[in-house]
Protein backbone atom coordinates (compact mmCIF):
# COMPACT_ATOMS: atom_id res chain seq x y z
CA UNK A 1 0.00 0.00 0.00
CA UNK A 2 2.97 2.30 0.13
CA UNK A 3 2.16 3.41 -3.38
CA UNK A 4 -0.91 5.11 -1.96
CA UNK A 5 1.32 7.89 -0.77
CA UNK A 6 1.58 9.03 -4.32
CA UNK A 7 -1.33 11.30 -5.00
CA UNK A 8 -0.68 12.02 -8.65
CA UNK A 9 -3.69 13.32 -10.46
CA UNK A 10 -5.23 11.39 -13.29
CA UNK A 11 -8.18 13.68 -13.80
CA UNK A 12 -8.72 17.30 -13.05
CA UNK A 13 -11.92 19.24 -13.49
CA UNK A 14 -12.19 21.89 -16.22
CA UNK A 15 -8.78 21.10 -17.58
CA UNK A 16 -8.18 20.53 -21.22
CA UNK A 17 -4.66 19.27 -20.93
CA UNK A 18 -3.59 15.84 -19.84
CA UNK A 19 -2.50 15.85 -16.21
CA UNK A 20 0.95 14.45 -15.45
CA UNK A 21 0.40 10.76 -15.87
CA UNK A 22 3.78 9.13 -16.15
CA UNK A 23 3.65 7.79 -12.59
CA UNK A 24 0.72 5.62 -13.43
CA UNK A 25 1.70 2.42 -11.66
CA UNK A 26 -0.31 3.32 -8.59
CA UNK A 27 -2.48 0.70 -6.97
CA UNK A 28 -6.15 1.58 -7.27
CA UNK A 29 -7.84 1.66 -3.88
CA UNK A 30 -11.39 0.82 -2.98
CA UNK A 31 -13.73 0.83 -0.03
CA UNK A 32 -16.03 -2.17 0.11
CA UNK A 33 -19.28 -1.79 2.03
CA UNK A 34 -20.68 -5.19 2.85
CA UNK A 35 -24.30 -4.37 3.54
CA UNK A 36 -24.92 -7.88 4.86
CA UNK A 37 -22.55 -7.23 7.78
CA UNK A 38 -23.72 -3.72 8.52
CA UNK A 39 -25.67 -3.17 11.73
CA UNK A 40 -26.35 0.49 11.03
CA UNK A 41 -24.58 1.63 14.17
CA UNK A 42 -23.36 4.88 12.62
CA UNK A 43 -19.82 4.46 13.91
CA UNK A 44 -18.74 5.43 10.42
CA UNK A 45 -20.76 8.63 10.67
CA UNK A 46 -19.29 9.45 14.06
CA UNK A 47 -15.73 8.66 12.99
CA UNK A 48 -16.18 10.70 9.83
CA UNK A 49 -17.38 13.72 11.75
CA UNK A 50 -14.67 13.36 14.36
CA UNK A 51 -11.78 12.92 11.94
CA UNK A 52 -12.91 15.54 9.46
CA UNK A 53 -13.90 18.06 12.14
CA UNK A 54 -17.50 18.20 10.97
CA UNK A 55 -20.38 19.03 13.27
CA UNK A 56 -23.71 19.60 11.53
CA UNK A 57 -26.58 21.06 13.50
CA UNK A 58 -28.51 18.96 15.99
CA UNK A 59 -31.71 18.05 14.18
CA UNK A 60 -35.00 16.50 15.17
CA UNK A 61 -36.38 13.01 15.18
CA UNK A 62 -38.11 12.72 11.85
CA UNK A 63 -39.62 9.28 11.84
CA UNK A 64 -36.52 7.27 11.09
CA UNK A 65 -33.12 6.40 12.47
CA UNK A 66 -31.62 8.51 9.69
CA UNK A 67 -29.88 11.38 11.38
CA UNK A 68 -29.01 13.97 10.21
CA UNK A 69 -31.95 13.87 7.81
CA UNK A 70 -29.79 14.12 4.70
CA UNK A 71 -26.24 14.33 3.48
CA UNK A 72 -24.95 17.86 3.83
CA UNK A 73 -21.89 20.02 3.52
CA UNK A 74 -20.84 18.68 6.92
CA UNK A 75 -22.52 15.29 6.59
CA UNK A 76 -20.30 13.31 4.29
CA UNK A 77 -21.70 9.93 5.06
CA UNK A 78 -25.13 8.84 6.25
CA UNK A 79 -26.69 5.56 7.22
CA UNK A 80 -29.94 4.94 5.39
CA UNK A 81 -32.50 2.50 6.72
CA UNK A 82 -35.14 0.70 4.67
CA UNK A 83 -37.69 -1.71 6.16
CA UNK A 84 -38.39 -4.25 3.45
CA UNK A 85 -40.76 -7.19 3.62
CA UNK A 86 -39.56 -9.92 1.32
CA UNK A 87 -41.55 -12.41 -0.72
CA UNK A 88 -41.75 -14.79 2.25
CA UNK A 89 -43.28 -12.01 4.34
CA UNK A 90 -40.19 -11.75 6.51
CA UNK A 91 -38.80 -8.39 7.41
CA UNK A 92 -35.40 -7.37 6.18
CA UNK A 93 -33.89 -4.18 7.51
CA UNK A 94 -31.73 -3.02 4.68
CA UNK A 95 -29.19 -0.56 5.98
CA UNK A 96 -26.81 1.22 3.65
CA UNK A 97 -24.03 3.69 4.25
CA UNK A 98 -24.52 6.45 1.74
CA UNK A 99 -21.76 8.74 0.57
CA UNK A 100 -19.48 9.45 -2.35
CA UNK A 101 -18.90 6.43 -4.56
CA UNK A 102 -15.63 7.75 -5.97
CA UNK A 103 -16.54 6.84 -9.54
CA UNK A 104 -13.81 5.93 -11.93
CA UNK A 105 -15.52 8.28 -14.37
CA UNK A 106 -16.80 10.96 -12.00
CA UNK A 107 -19.82 12.92 -13.14
CA UNK A 108 -19.06 15.71 -10.69
CA UNK A 109 -15.61 16.18 -12.14
CA UNK A 110 -16.98 16.15 -15.61
CA UNK A 111 -19.51 18.83 -14.77
CA UNK A 112 -17.22 21.07 -12.73
CA UNK A 113 -16.30 24.36 -14.45
CA UNK A 114 -13.57 25.40 -12.02
CA UNK A 115 -10.16 24.12 -13.05
CA UNK A 116 -8.77 21.77 -10.43
CA UNK A 117 -11.67 22.11 -8.01
CA UNK A 118 -12.33 18.40 -8.44
CA UNK A 119 -9.49 16.00 -8.96
CA UNK A 120 -9.03 12.29 -9.20
CA UNK A 121 -5.82 10.91 -7.79
CA UNK A 122 -4.03 8.06 -9.40
CA UNK A 123 -5.26 5.76 -6.64
CA UNK A 124 -8.83 6.48 -7.72
CA UNK A 125 -9.96 8.87 -4.97
CA UNK A 126 -12.09 11.74 -6.23
CA UNK A 127 -11.46 14.80 -4.10
CA UNK A 128 -12.92 18.29 -3.91
CA UNK A 129 -10.30 21.00 -3.62
CA UNK A 130 -12.42 23.48 -1.75
CA UNK A 131 -10.09 26.39 -2.33
CA UNK A 132 -10.78 26.27 -6.05
CA UNK A 133 -14.49 25.60 -5.81
CA UNK A 134 -16.67 28.42 -7.07
CA UNK A 135 -19.91 27.07 -5.61
CA UNK A 136 -21.86 26.78 -8.85
CA UNK A 137 -23.44 23.46 -7.97
CA UNK A 138 -22.64 21.83 -11.30
CA UNK A 139 -21.13 18.83 -9.46
CA UNK A 140 -24.54 18.25 -7.90
CA UNK A 141 -26.01 17.97 -11.37
CA UNK A 142 -23.17 15.86 -12.64
CA UNK A 143 -23.29 13.27 -9.88
CA UNK A 144 -25.33 10.14 -10.67
CA UNK A 145 -25.67 9.39 -6.94
CA UNK A 146 -26.88 12.73 -5.54
CA UNK A 147 -23.90 13.16 -3.26
CA UNK A 148 -22.28 16.62 -3.31
CA UNK A 149 -23.83 19.34 -1.17
CA UNK A 150 -23.12 23.07 -1.28
CA UNK A 151 -22.50 24.89 1.96
CA UNK A 152 -24.68 27.91 2.68
CA UNK A 153 -21.86 29.38 4.70
CA UNK A 154 -18.97 29.36 2.29
CA UNK A 155 -20.70 28.35 -0.96
CA UNK A 156 -18.40 25.48 -1.62
CA UNK A 157 -19.17 21.91 -2.47
CA UNK A 158 -18.36 19.15 -0.01
CA UNK A 159 -18.43 15.39 0.07
CA UNK A 160 -16.47 12.39 1.32
CA UNK A 161 -12.77 12.64 0.56
CA UNK A 162 -12.23 8.94 1.24
CA UNK A 163 -9.99 10.47 3.91
CA UNK A 164 -7.42 11.35 1.29
CA UNK A 165 -5.29 12.78 4.09
CA UNK A 166 -5.17 9.44 5.86
CA UNK A 167 -4.75 7.41 2.69
CA UNK A 168 -1.91 9.70 1.65
CA UNK A 169 0.09 8.64 4.70
CA UNK A 170 -0.76 4.97 4.29
CA UNK A 171 -3.77 4.71 6.60
CA UNK A 172 -7.30 3.55 5.91
CA UNK A 173 -10.20 6.04 5.95
CA UNK A 174 -11.66 6.88 9.37
CA UNK A 175 -14.99 5.16 8.71
CA UNK A 176 -13.23 2.00 7.62
CA UNK A 177 -11.11 1.91 10.72
CA UNK A 178 -14.06 2.49 13.03
CA UNK A 179 -16.56 0.03 11.54
CA UNK A 180 -17.16 -2.43 14.38
CA UNK A 181 -18.36 -5.33 12.28
CA UNK A 182 -15.98 -5.01 9.36
CA UNK A 183 -18.84 -4.08 7.08
CA UNK A 184 -16.54 -1.44 5.64
CA UNK A 185 -13.23 -2.73 4.33
CA UNK A 186 -10.47 -0.93 2.51
CA UNK A 187 -7.65 -2.09 0.28
CA UNK A 188 -6.63 -2.31 -3.33
CA UNK A 189 -9.55 -2.50 -5.67
CA UNK A 190 -8.63 -5.99 -6.83
CA UNK A 191 -8.36 -7.27 -3.26
CA UNK A 192 -11.74 -5.79 -2.47
CA UNK A 193 -13.28 -7.40 -5.53
CA UNK A 194 -11.85 -10.76 -4.54
CA UNK A 195 -13.09 -10.39 -0.98
CA UNK A 196 -16.51 -9.39 -2.25
CA UNK A 197 -16.53 -12.60 -4.27
CA UNK A 198 -16.06 -14.66 -1.12
CA UNK A 199 -18.78 -12.76 0.65
CA UNK A 200 -21.18 -13.34 -2.20
CA UNK A 201 -20.56 -17.08 -2.07
CA UNK A 202 -21.35 -17.03 1.65
CA UNK A 203 -24.51 -14.99 1.13
CA UNK A 204 -25.73 -17.29 -1.59
CA UNK A 205 -25.22 -20.21 0.77
CA UNK A 206 -27.48 -18.40 3.25
CA UNK A 207 -30.30 -18.14 0.76
CA UNK A 208 -29.59 -14.81 -0.91
CA UNK A 209 -29.52 -16.09 -4.48
CA UNK A 210 -29.21 -12.62 -5.95
CA UNK A 211 -26.26 -11.51 -3.82
CA UNK A 212 -23.73 -9.58 -5.80
CA UNK A 213 -21.24 -6.76 -6.07
CA UNK A 214 -22.30 -3.23 -6.88
CA UNK A 215 -19.54 -1.72 -8.98
CA UNK A 216 -21.55 0.00 -11.70
CA UNK A 217 -19.78 -0.24 -15.07
CA UNK A 218 -21.52 2.75 -16.61
CA UNK A 219 -19.45 5.08 -14.44
CA UNK A 220 -16.33 3.04 -15.09
CA UNK A 221 -16.75 1.19 -11.82
CA UNK A 222 -16.48 2.85 -8.43
CA UNK A 223 -13.91 3.06 -5.70
CA UNK A 224 -16.64 2.55 -3.16
CA UNK A 225 -18.44 -0.70 -3.80
CA UNK A 226 -21.27 -2.52 -2.10
CA UNK A 227 -21.91 -6.16 -1.45
CA UNK A 228 -25.70 -6.43 -1.66
CA UNK A 229 -27.95 -9.35 -0.77
CA UNK A 230 -30.29 -8.17 -3.50
CA UNK A 231 -27.90 -7.04 -6.18
CA UNK A 232 -30.68 -7.43 -8.72
CA UNK A 233 -32.56 -4.59 -7.02
CA UNK A 234 -30.18 -1.97 -5.66
CA UNK A 235 -33.03 0.51 -5.33
CA UNK A 236 -34.36 -1.49 -2.36
CA UNK A 237 -31.50 0.03 -0.41
CA UNK A 238 -33.00 3.49 0.09
CA UNK A 239 -32.89 4.27 -3.59
CA UNK A 240 -29.41 3.21 -4.61
CA UNK A 241 -29.61 3.74 -8.41
CA UNK A 242 -30.24 0.51 -10.29
CA UNK A 243 -28.31 1.68 -13.34
CA UNK A 244 -26.30 4.71 -12.43
CA UNK A 245 -24.67 6.65 -15.25
CA UNK A 246 -23.78 10.22 -15.88
CA UNK A 247 -27.00 11.74 -17.16
CA UNK A 248 -27.10 11.99 -20.97
CA UNK A 249 -28.13 15.58 -20.45
CA UNK A 250 -24.92 16.25 -18.57
CA UNK A 251 -22.97 14.27 -21.12
CA UNK A 252 -24.39 16.42 -23.89
CA UNK A 253 -23.80 19.62 -22.00
CA UNK A 254 -20.26 18.81 -20.98
CA UNK A 255 -19.45 16.72 -24.03
CA UNK A 256 -20.41 17.70 -27.49
CA UNK A 257 -21.93 21.09 -26.71
CA UNK A 258 -18.72 22.59 -25.37
CA UNK A 259 -16.58 22.32 -28.53
CA UNK A 260 -19.54 22.82 -30.85
CA UNK A 261 -20.51 26.01 -29.13
CA UNK A 262 -17.02 27.44 -29.17
CA UNK A 263 -16.60 26.50 -32.77
CA UNK A 264 -19.95 27.99 -33.63
CA UNK A 265 -19.22 31.22 -31.88
CA UNK A 266 -15.72 31.38 -33.28
CA UNK A 267 -16.96 30.58 -36.75
CA UNK A 268 -19.56 33.32 -36.60
CA UNK A 269 -16.95 35.83 -35.59
CA UNK A 270 -14.53 34.65 -38.27
CA UNK A 271 -17.18 34.74 -40.98
CA UNK A 272 -18.10 38.26 -39.98
CA UNK A 273 -14.49 39.33 -39.95
CA UNK A 274 -13.76 37.93 -43.38
CA UNK A 275 -16.98 39.30 -44.74
CA UNK A 276 -15.80 42.72 -43.74
CA UNK A 277 -12.38 42.10 -45.26
CA UNK A 278 -13.85 40.83 -48.51
CA UNK A 279 -16.92 42.98 -48.96
CA UNK A 280 -15.84 46.01 -47.06
CA UNK A 281 -18.06 48.16 -44.93
CA UNK A 282 -21.56 49.16 -45.88
CA UNK A 283 -20.99 52.90 -46.07
CA UNK A 284 -23.20 55.84 -46.82
CA UNK A 285 -22.19 57.46 -50.08
CA UNK A 286 -22.33 61.14 -50.95
CA UNK A 287 -25.16 60.32 -53.31
CA UNK A 288 -27.08 58.76 -50.46
CA UNK A 289 -26.45 61.81 -48.39
CA UNK A 290 -27.65 64.04 -51.15
CA UNK A 291 -30.71 61.92 -51.72
CA UNK A 292 -31.50 61.91 -48.05
CA UNK A 293 -31.15 65.66 -47.79
CA UNK A 294 -33.32 66.03 -50.83
CA UNK A 295 -36.12 63.99 -49.33
CA UNK A 296 -35.99 66.06 -46.19
CA UNK A 297 -35.91 69.30 -48.11
CA UNK A 298 -38.87 68.31 -50.25
CA UNK A 299 -40.97 67.42 -47.33
CA UNK A 300 -39.94 70.63 -45.65
CA UNK A 301 -41.01 72.68 -48.59
CA UNK A 302 -44.26 70.82 -48.90
CA UNK A 303 -45.09 71.62 -45.35
CA UNK A 304 -44.03 75.28 -45.69
CA UNK A 305 -46.80 77.59 -46.25
Amino acid sequence: MSDLQSQDLVRRSASTMTPPSVRSHVEQVAKLIDVSRCIGCKACQAACMEWNDLRPEIGHFEGSYENPADLGPSVWTLMKFAEYENEQGNLEWLIRKDGCMHCEDPGCLKACPAPGAIVQYANGIVDFISDKCIGCGYCVKGCPFDIPRISKQDHKAYKCTLCSDRVAVGQEPACVKACPTGAIMFGSKTTMQEWAGERIVDLKSRGFEQAGLYDPPAVGGTHVMYVLHHADRPSLYSGLPDHPRISPVVEAWKGILKPLALIGVGLAAVVGFFHLIIEGPNEVTDEDEAAGERVLRESESEKSP
Partner: protein, 197 residues
Amino acid sequence: MPLTRREFIKFTGLALAASSLGMLGFGESGEAQAAAVRPFKLTRATETRNTCTYCSVACGILIYSMGDRAKNARSNIIHIEGDPDHPVNRGTLCPKGSALLDVVHAPTRLRVPRYRPPGGTEFKDVSWDYALDRIARLMKDDRDKNFIAKNAAGTTVNRWTTVGMLAASASSSETSYLTWKAVRSLGMVVFDNQARV
Protein backbone atom coordinates in the same frame (compact mmCIF):
# COMPACT_ATOMS: atom_id res chain seq x y z
CA MET B 1 -24.83 21.29 -43.78
CA PRO B 2 -25.70 17.63 -43.19
CA LEU B 3 -22.93 15.72 -41.38
CA THR B 4 -22.48 11.99 -41.38
CA ARG B 5 -21.79 10.43 -37.99
CA ARG B 6 -18.22 9.72 -39.02
CA GLU B 7 -17.59 13.26 -40.08
CA PHE B 8 -19.23 14.51 -36.97
CA ILE B 9 -16.83 12.60 -34.72
CA LYS B 10 -13.86 13.78 -36.72
CA PHE B 11 -15.10 17.28 -36.48
CA THR B 12 -15.56 17.35 -32.72
CA GLY B 13 -12.29 15.47 -32.23
CA LEU B 14 -10.45 18.18 -34.06
CA ALA B 15 -12.17 20.79 -31.99
CA LEU B 16 -11.19 19.05 -28.78
CA ALA B 17 -7.61 18.74 -29.89
CA ALA B 18 -7.60 22.38 -30.78
CA SER B 19 -9.00 23.45 -27.45
CA SER B 20 -6.46 21.28 -25.59
CA LEU B 21 -3.61 22.91 -27.40
CA GLY B 22 -5.09 26.28 -26.70
CA MET B 23 -5.13 25.56 -23.02
CA LEU B 24 -1.43 24.89 -22.63
CA GLY B 25 -0.71 28.31 -21.31
CA PHE B 26 -3.23 28.05 -18.51
CA GLY B 27 -2.35 24.75 -16.87
CA GLU B 28 -2.17 24.68 -13.08
CA SER B 29 -2.01 20.94 -12.41
CA GLY B 30 1.24 21.00 -10.49
CA GLU B 31 -0.06 23.53 -8.06
CA ALA B 32 -3.24 21.56 -7.52
CA GLN B 33 -1.30 18.45 -6.66
CA ALA B 34 0.66 20.25 -4.02
CA ALA B 35 -2.40 21.86 -2.48
CA ALA B 36 -4.80 18.95 -2.84
CA VAL B 37 -4.58 16.74 0.22
CA ARG B 38 -5.31 18.02 3.69
CA PRO B 39 -2.22 17.66 5.84
CA PHE B 40 -2.31 14.63 8.14
CA LYS B 41 -3.13 16.11 11.49
CA LEU B 42 -1.51 13.62 13.83
CA THR B 43 2.02 13.64 12.52
CA ARG B 44 3.76 14.56 15.77
CA ALA B 45 0.81 14.47 18.16
CA THR B 46 1.39 12.67 21.46
CA GLU B 47 -0.22 9.23 21.58
CA THR B 48 -1.58 7.83 24.85
CA ARG B 49 -3.07 4.37 25.26
CA ASN B 50 -6.33 4.19 27.10
CA THR B 51 -9.59 2.24 27.33
CA CYS B 52 -12.97 3.43 26.14
CA THR B 53 -15.06 4.73 29.01
CA TYR B 54 -18.38 3.35 27.85
CA CYS B 55 -19.31 -0.31 27.67
CA SER B 56 -17.38 -3.27 28.90
CA VAL B 57 -16.13 -4.51 25.59
CA ALA B 58 -13.34 -2.20 26.81
CA CYS B 59 -12.00 -1.23 23.43
CA GLY B 60 -8.43 -0.09 23.35
CA ILE B 61 -8.15 3.52 22.25
CA LEU B 62 -5.36 5.86 21.22
CA ILE B 63 -5.71 9.39 22.52
CA TYR B 64 -3.87 12.01 20.49
CA SER B 65 -3.02 15.26 22.15
CA MET B 66 -1.36 18.48 21.15
CA GLY B 67 1.91 19.21 22.83
CA ASP B 68 4.77 16.81 23.47
CA ARG B 69 4.52 17.02 27.27
CA ALA B 70 7.29 19.58 27.37
CA LYS B 71 7.21 21.64 30.54
CA ASN B 72 5.58 24.60 28.90
CA ALA B 73 3.04 22.73 26.80
CA ARG B 74 -0.35 21.93 28.23
CA SER B 75 -1.75 18.81 26.59
CA ASN B 76 -5.00 19.16 24.75
CA ILE B 77 -6.75 16.12 23.36
CA ILE B 78 -7.41 16.56 19.64
CA HIS B 79 -8.41 13.13 18.40
CA ILE B 80 -9.28 9.65 19.66
CA GLU B 81 -9.33 6.48 17.61
CA GLY B 82 -9.21 2.72 18.09
CA ASP B 83 -6.07 0.86 19.08
CA PRO B 84 -5.34 -1.58 16.23
CA ASP B 85 -3.27 -3.80 18.54
CA HIS B 86 -6.15 -4.44 20.90
CA PRO B 87 -7.28 -8.06 20.55
CA VAL B 88 -10.98 -7.30 20.93
CA ASN B 89 -11.68 -4.15 18.99
CA ARG B 90 -8.66 -4.32 16.66
CA GLY B 91 -8.86 -0.61 15.98
CA THR B 92 -12.61 -0.39 15.55
CA LEU B 93 -14.88 1.80 17.64
CA CYS B 94 -18.65 2.14 17.87
CA PRO B 95 -20.50 5.45 17.39
CA LYS B 96 -19.99 6.31 21.04
CA GLY B 97 -16.32 5.43 21.06
CA SER B 98 -15.72 7.24 17.80
CA ALA B 99 -17.14 10.38 19.40
CA LEU B 100 -15.20 10.18 22.68
CA LEU B 101 -13.52 13.45 21.83
CA ASP B 102 -16.84 15.23 22.20
CA VAL B 103 -17.48 13.89 25.68
CA VAL B 104 -14.00 14.86 26.84
CA HIS B 105 -14.65 18.38 25.57
CA ALA B 106 -18.38 18.50 26.27
CA PRO B 107 -19.59 22.01 27.02
CA THR B 108 -21.34 20.51 30.04
CA ARG B 109 -18.10 19.14 31.52
CA LEU B 110 -17.90 20.39 35.09
CA ARG B 111 -14.91 22.58 35.94
CA VAL B 112 -15.55 23.91 39.45
CA PRO B 113 -17.26 22.54 42.57
CA ARG B 114 -20.71 24.05 42.98
CA TYR B 115 -23.09 24.32 45.86
CA ARG B 116 -26.82 24.84 46.08
CA PRO B 117 -28.15 25.87 49.52
CA PRO B 118 -31.55 24.68 50.81
CA GLY B 119 -34.29 26.35 48.80
CA GLY B 120 -31.76 27.86 46.40
CA THR B 121 -32.58 28.42 42.75
CA GLU B 122 -29.03 28.51 41.42
CA PHE B 123 -25.72 26.79 41.90
CA LYS B 124 -22.82 28.90 43.08
CA ASP B 125 -19.14 28.13 42.66
CA VAL B 126 -17.37 27.14 45.87
CA SER B 127 -13.85 26.09 46.81
CA TRP B 128 -12.95 22.46 47.26
CA ASP B 129 -12.23 23.09 50.93
CA TYR B 130 -15.65 24.58 51.47
CA ALA B 131 -17.37 21.67 49.78
CA LEU B 132 -15.41 18.86 51.38
CA ASP B 133 -15.37 20.41 54.87
CA ARG B 134 -19.12 20.83 54.74
CA ILE B 135 -19.73 17.32 53.40
CA ALA B 136 -17.54 15.78 56.09
CA ARG B 137 -19.34 17.78 58.76
CA LEU B 138 -22.77 16.72 57.52
CA MET B 139 -21.70 13.11 57.31
CA LYS B 140 -20.15 13.03 60.76
CA ASP B 141 -23.08 14.73 62.42
CA ASP B 142 -25.45 12.25 60.89
CA ARG B 143 -23.27 9.24 61.62
CA ASP B 144 -22.86 10.21 65.22
CA LYS B 145 -26.62 10.62 65.45
CA ASN B 146 -27.85 7.56 63.59
CA PHE B 147 -25.07 4.95 63.79
CA ILE B 148 -26.35 1.58 65.03
CA ALA B 149 -23.66 -0.09 67.12
CA LYS B 150 -25.78 -2.96 68.40
CA ASN B 151 -29.14 -4.32 67.32
CA ALA B 152 -32.07 -5.15 69.56
CA ALA B 153 -30.63 -8.58 70.25
CA GLY B 154 -27.42 -7.00 71.49
CA THR B 155 -25.32 -8.16 68.57
CA THR B 156 -22.64 -5.76 67.43
CA VAL B 157 -23.79 -4.70 63.97
CA ASN B 158 -21.89 -1.40 63.43
CA ARG B 159 -24.17 -0.19 60.72
CA TRP B 160 -25.00 3.24 59.32
CA THR B 161 -28.14 3.36 57.19
CA THR B 162 -29.07 7.02 56.96
CA VAL B 163 -26.41 8.13 54.52
CA GLY B 164 -25.94 6.11 51.36
CA MET B 165 -23.79 6.07 48.32
CA LEU B 166 -24.03 5.04 44.72
CA ALA B 167 -20.64 4.18 43.29
CA ALA B 168 -19.57 4.86 39.75
CA SER B 169 -19.49 2.40 36.91
CA ALA B 170 -16.69 3.85 34.83
CA SER B 171 -14.18 4.77 37.49
CA SER B 172 -11.11 2.60 37.83
CA SER B 173 -10.92 -0.44 40.08
CA GLU B 174 -8.36 1.46 42.12
CA THR B 175 -10.84 4.26 42.69
CA SER B 176 -13.54 1.78 43.60
CA TYR B 177 -11.28 -0.04 46.05
CA LEU B 178 -10.41 3.19 47.82
CA THR B 179 -14.09 4.13 47.83
CA TRP B 180 -15.04 0.75 49.29
CA LYS B 181 -12.48 1.10 52.05
CA ALA B 182 -13.57 4.57 53.04
CA VAL B 183 -17.29 3.82 52.87
CA ARG B 184 -17.21 0.52 54.73
CA SER B 185 -14.97 1.87 57.46
CA LEU B 186 -17.86 4.23 58.24
CA GLY B 187 -20.23 1.25 58.50
CA MET B 188 -22.27 2.43 55.51
CA VAL B 189 -24.57 -0.28 54.12
CA VAL B 190 -26.83 1.65 51.75
CA PHE B 191 -24.16 1.30 49.14
CA ASP B 192 -24.68 0.18 45.58
CA ASN B 193 -23.45 0.57 42.04
CA GLN B 194 -24.79 0.68 38.54
CA ALA B 195 -24.58 -3.07 37.89
CA ARG B 196 -28.34 -3.31 37.49
CA VAL B 197 -29.00 -0.53 35.03
